[in-house]
């Protein structure tokens, strides 16, 4: 198993945001995490990404507990998270964002040899590889035409796609997407759906949270439903969505 979440709990004072959550992610699959607002989805993802520290429980990544690592160490391990509200570097262009996101790639390629680039500049071959990769990723995320635009000038959907593109260019083994579809229009969601399927076909494992059942319902191989911080259903996506407890959590008991 690539990622194994074991009895994860997070308390903020008296509030238990995530309660005893356990699930696993296998290599190459798309796992969806559903739940209405306030069900602990984002907290769970932030715990995995190292942004928050769990109160108890373990986050096992390739047989190693990573729950004490900092966010950049988690990213170096191959788990990269995108943000629900698009996070940008103001003033910089789309291409410059991508160049910064290539940090891990350059680090892996050159290691301590990066010190040499202080004198001689980036090796031309690596530079070409990065440019090619950035071009490919922007193409995939439909951002090629805005490559040299300031990222702040992108539409909301464009900013979200840039987040996905930056996450992808880190070469993650597992990409954690925090509500990638929220705030997007119909066409943008169709586009996102295509992009994520494309990523899957390239062998990337995805863990996506959303409260939009329709979008994620079509995409996820397997799903986990959260309510009040606890897992209420897990299994094949269509079974989870048909689960009485899940329907009750979303629509109230009358509809279950």
């Amino acid at each position: 198993m690539l990622l194994d979440i074991q009895n994860l709990t997070k308390r903020f004072g008296g509030l238990t945001a995530v309660s005893n959550v356990s699930f696993g992610v296998e290599r190459g699959e798309i796992v969806g995490i559903f739940g209405p607002n306030g069900s602990g989805k984002t907290t769970t993802l932030s715990l995995i990404a190292g942004i928050l520290k769990p109160t108890s429980g373990a986050i096992v990544w390739k047989d190693r507990d990573i729950s004490t690592l900092t966010p950049f160490e988690v990213a170096q391990q191959g788990l990269v998270k995108t943000f629900q509200n698009p996070q940008l570097f103001p003033e910089l262009t789309v291409a410059q964002h991508m160049r910064i996101a290539c940090h891990l790639h350059v680090k892996r390629a050159l290691g301590i040899g990066r010190l040499r680039t202080l004198f001689s500049g980036m090796p031309a071959e690596l530079d070409r590889t990065l440019e090619h990769k950035i071009g490919q990723m922007l193409e995939l995320c439909r951002l090629s035409s805005q490559r040299n635009d300031e990222a702040g000038a992108l539409s909301y959907g464009g900013e979200k796609m840039l987040g996905v593109a930056m996450g992808m260019v880190c070469d993650p083994e597992l990409l954690l997407l925090d509500e990638p579809a929220s705030g997007l229009g119909h066409d943008e969601i169709t586009n996102l759906d295509a992009v994520l399927r494309d990523l899957k076909s390239h062998g990337v494992t995805l863990c996506i949270i959303d409260h939009k059942v329709g979008f994620l319902g079509r995409l996820a191989d397997r799903s986990i439903a959260l309510h009040h911080g606890a897992v209420i259903a897990t299994g094949k996506t269509e079974d989870v969505l048909a689960n009485e407890a899940v329907v009750a959590a979303y629509l109230g008991k009358k509809h279950a």
Partner: protein
Amino acid sequence: MKYAIAVGLLLALVAPAVVHSDSILAIAIYGFMAASLAVSFNLIFGFTGQLSMFHAASFGVSAYVVTILVTTFKWNFWLAIIPALVVVMILSLIVGTICFRFKLKEFYFAVVTMAFSEVLRLITLNWNSVTNGSLGITVVDKPSIWTPSGSFAISSGVSWYYLTLALLVIVYIICHRILASWIGRCLAAIRLNDQLGETLGIDVFKYKLLSFAIGSVLAGLVGAFYGFYSGFVEPHYFSIPLGLDIIAMVLLGGVNSLIGPVIGALVLTALPHVIELSAELRIALYGSILIFVILVMPKGIVGLLTSRKHAA
């Protein structure tokens, strides 16, 4: 801009052949040292987004260490620079580690670094047996360099002019290489959105500390020379007004550029001599310039020049 810098450097190189006034040379020498300080400060402030008030302290500590080693322990000047820079590096790593581990930002970082700076100033002021307290230390030695025809003391205005110009070029090139490399991209990420940078795998703590330490050591390098040119070191080197002068130079010249602080430093060093003013009025002038720049041209002189060019 590249051509403008090259032309400026060329003019600076030939200037002493044309200008024979000692006072103008002295202004240029102080200007070059101030510019080196401002460029190294801008690595921490303008490019990493950390408002360090420790810069004057790094400058002062190094000036004192070199002076004490040379005057009291009779070390060679060039050799004494090494321990001075090591001391500055250790101090900046300690201060930086404390501040960045506790994730101090903006004003909190400025206030804490200012407090460390004050501690060092008070130690210098009160450690009479070593630092000679408020009187400071008079420096009579001059650094010398070895030439095939024998040892050559750097004492004339022209030799100091070229030495400090070389210092500025070295500091500038070091900062330029750093900013053009992957480190520069990490620093930009930290300045603009450190949380996003961290999720992209950037060790924010390490790169903040690196920028702070390199900037501080470069300030130390300037400090090493300063006392030997001016002829004395005194606790005033650590003072908050010196720290504020550096900020004024950077803001006037342009925060987001490497050459901006050079222009700002040269202008602010020359200005009081062009318009002869008393010390009190000089401080008032500095203050007014800061307010004016922040209100009217937030990107400084360089920002103004480049935007004109784009408009044209």
